[in-house]
Amino acid sequence: MKLAAATAGTCAAAGVCQPQLKALAVDFSDKAETSDEKVFTTICRSNCFQGCKLDAHVRDGIVRKMTPSPYPEEDYTGCCLRGLTIHQRTYSPTRLKYPMKRVGDRGSDQWERITWDEALDEIAEKFTEYRKQYGDGAVAVEAASGNQGTVNAAKGVLTRFCNALKLTKIAGCYDMAYGYGTNRVVGGGPYGNASEIAGVKDAKTILIWGANPTNSSPQNWRFIEQAHEAGVRLVNIDPMYTGTAAKCDEWIPITAGTDVYLAMALVNYVVSNNLIDEDFARTRTTAPFLLSKQSGKILRSEEANAQITAATAKAPARNVPAYVWDEDAETYGSSDTVANPALEGTYSVDGEECTTVLTALKEAFAPYTLEEAADKTGVPVETIKEIADIYVNQGPVFLYTVFAIDHYQNAHLFGQAVAILHALTGNIGVPGTSLSGFWFWAGNFNGAGITTVGTSAAYGKLPQCALAETLDTGMTAGKEYPIKALLVACSNPLSNFAEQNLWFDTILPKLDYLVTMDTEFTDTARYSDLVLPVATWLEVDDVRVNFCNPFVVINEKAIDPLYESKPDAEIFALIAERMGYGEDVPNKDAKEWIKTFMTSDKLAADGIDYDRLVKEKAIRAIGTPDKPFVFSEKSFATTSGRAELYAESITPRVDYGQDYKEAAAKEHFPYARDAHEASAANNLHATYPLVLTTGHYRWRTHTQWFNNPTLRELDPEPIIYIGRDDARARGIKSDDEVTVFNDRGSFTLKAVVSDAVPSGYVNMPKGWQRNQFIKGSYQEVSSTSVDCLAVNFTFFDALVDVRKGE
């Protein structure tokens, strides 16, 4: 059986394709086009990861258009339709213009305009009162991915505000399970598992697994397609046929939520057939480390163990050696001295029976046969072997996964397993490899200079997914923990958190006071008590350290804030001042904060500073044009400095008092389990036979641009894609109104019958607000059930059914 061939076909004659890459170079111009036009450099700060540098063209004090602004390296220049309409958000007819106070019931859309003084006084008074009566943490702040700048973003003055006042800063639960899983193997935290996208050219195969970059990362796609034209093979694993699948050389449909079975079986196949990269395994992974059978601990010297005990979060232990079996000397020795450690075998170390990690791993993975995987995933055995062949013979493999698999409850196990697969086949830490398409790079910037106020710290152990429960019980981690007020900025939680009805049933009724800072009447703003108008990206100075590209970029303020809007940083300072924390959260010019951010010893060593940024607008701060950054090229950010095939200690991503011990004990090696709900094995499947995925489409970044007039002309109303068989069985035709429902809620919208969707699924572009649906919202049907260790929303892990009509 051959891999299902996608029609796009390979660029067979790579030689023909290659020379055009440069011939097609576009002459990007950031010059003013007419004499009275001024051009400001800015950057898109939506959380689509791409970090596009843009020019804002200003005439008569109005931003007339946005154009892609050249990066010092042309390959990185580009933007999308959303970037081109950023100025329309500034001038949006529905923009929030003034502080608005609710006068009717929550959500009734009745508002009264008040002055900033009234608004700020009210907030300060209430917050002060709650903190006095219930403790600092009674005021919670929810900030998510709305602004990926620095000063005015969640990670900027907002965090300083939370730290200074010791508020509850709600912990994010978006996109963290996969990285939590890979972190067990390669370290680097939830996002430190990827290489610079320009490195795809060094790959032999790009495996796009659970991502749809033609929609969700169009700038990355440019690099992928260029590599493709140069002969790199593109393979896509996705339950649905997407724009990405259409471009790949092969597309392998898979049953959603079963990727972990595939990864486990691949590892088993590779190890049991001795297909691993032995050199790599020996020197760069913990494969030869000796693992005690009794304690389940890696055996190390006393000093090594002491090093580990002494480690702190700020100063973690790194490159700690462990015992390995010296095959030449036939005894154990330290991994940093033994030249020829045994990869496999059972040994005795001072009477303690142990095996190598690889031997233990083989045993742990042995049950995961190709046949079982084929059965679970719907991917034929032969195809799985071909994927294995890619890993073994057609590397370097650049794994381009983003956060679709992350949205199921077994995601971290997938992350852990696939990281092991890469480690064992040597597809990691070398040019052309990566464990993710989402490259997050925090750099050497002085973010702490903005956020820290002495040792004062916010309470950060209340995850988004537990907000409703905490409000309901008034408890967290077994302790009383009343939350009375919620301040929302750079986030639209009512729309983006799972299980929306929890807001109506629990969160809103239990919250005394909800304040939202935004630019539009989002779902969250609509149900707030007070709404504050913030300045848009074009109306503030800021700086962005990009994800997915290696630049730090300045954001020049193009125009003054319109109406009565104010920059976030200023709003926090004004509230703090009224609450007596003016000194801790000063109302500084954003440029000052940027200077702070750009000042660190390491930056100085690299010759990067504020003045240079002002002059050059964008500076590459990692890697070089010739040698793109490769993640973990030298060593891994793990205790051993190696890829850790065995996870010695398992702690939850956020410990908010949940019961996780039993689960943790099972995950030293990954194992495969079904998705929580979105699985044929679930009893609910009989009642709700369809998995609902809510994809990230070009028409919005999450909920941003939700009512942009230009984009709404292209994509006027919510639609859900349903496969032909499922549609026929329900008497549904394209353009029919349908209702999607499960026990948690329902929503009504227009259906489009699409052959891209296999039976058993429905898929819809996410980001619409409630009032854009005929009824309800897609977020009503998702679930807040999370894995106790990964603590991450699992948006796609939900079953629904669809009926025609309301």
Partner: protein, 206 residues
């Protein structure tokens, strides 16, 4: 000289950036699109052709093809749409046009000529895009004029400069040494509805 566009359908991901760039650059009124992204696949945008899992889908963008043998210019009773002899661009003279819409009936590429069915309406109360685009006029036809105002200044058309996938190439196809001519020479390409004999200058690389 014949200015032209080459659109690489292998690179095009249907992202609509070019459509939006065109709309803003030329300050097009609400609901008007000179350049549109069409799905070559199923009955709806972004749906494929075939049955699961044997599927195919691609995109083309559609704007005036700047035909070498334009159907539109011949039929215009007042010469309001004409082929610029210097650039080969099929231009529109809003002042001359009487709004008979014969050109729209004559053009085989449906939807590339856009009539101003009303006084242009704008969501925003300021003009967007470039300062030097002429204002649209109620009761006359408008369409892509290959960003003549930019090309004159040596800039690329807005849609070309904005395409994140570098799928669009602009240039003179009468000059064998231009980048676009070389590109066309090196890749198989086709014209839309070539059987109509209009000889479009927009080429699709396949």
């Amino acid at each position: 000289m014949q200015y032209a566009l080459a659109i690489d359908t292998k690179r095009c991901i249907g992202c609509n950036t070019c459509a939006v760039a065109c709309k803003i650059e030329n300050n097009l009124p609400d609901t008007m699109w000179w350049n549109r992204v069409l799905t070559v696949g199923g009955d709806h945008t972004d749906t494929p052709q075939g049955s699961f899992p044997h599927l195919s889908m691609s995109y083309i963008t559609l704007s005036c093809q700047h035909c070498k043998n334009p159907a539109c210019t011949k039929v215009c009773p007042v010469g309001a749409t004409y082929k610029d002899s210097e650039t080969g661009i099929v231009m529109q003279d809003y002042k001359k046009c009487i709004g008979c819409r014969y050109c729209m009936a004559a053009c085989p590429y449906n939807g590339v000529r856009n009539f101003n069915w009303r006084e242009p309406e704008y969501t925003f109360d300021f003009s967007q895009g470039s300062e030097d685009v002429p204002s649209l006029v109620k009761g006359t036809v408008s369409k892509c004029i290959l960003c003549n105002h930019r090309v004159k200044k040596g800039l690329e058309p807005a849609c070309v400069a904005a395409c994140p996938e570098r799928a669009r190439t602009f240039g003179d196809i009468d000059d064998p040494n231009s980048a676009i001519s070389k590109l066309l020479a090196s890749r198989s390409n086709y014209q839309l509805l070539d059987e109509k004999g209009t000889n479009p200058s927009v080429r699709f690389l396949s």
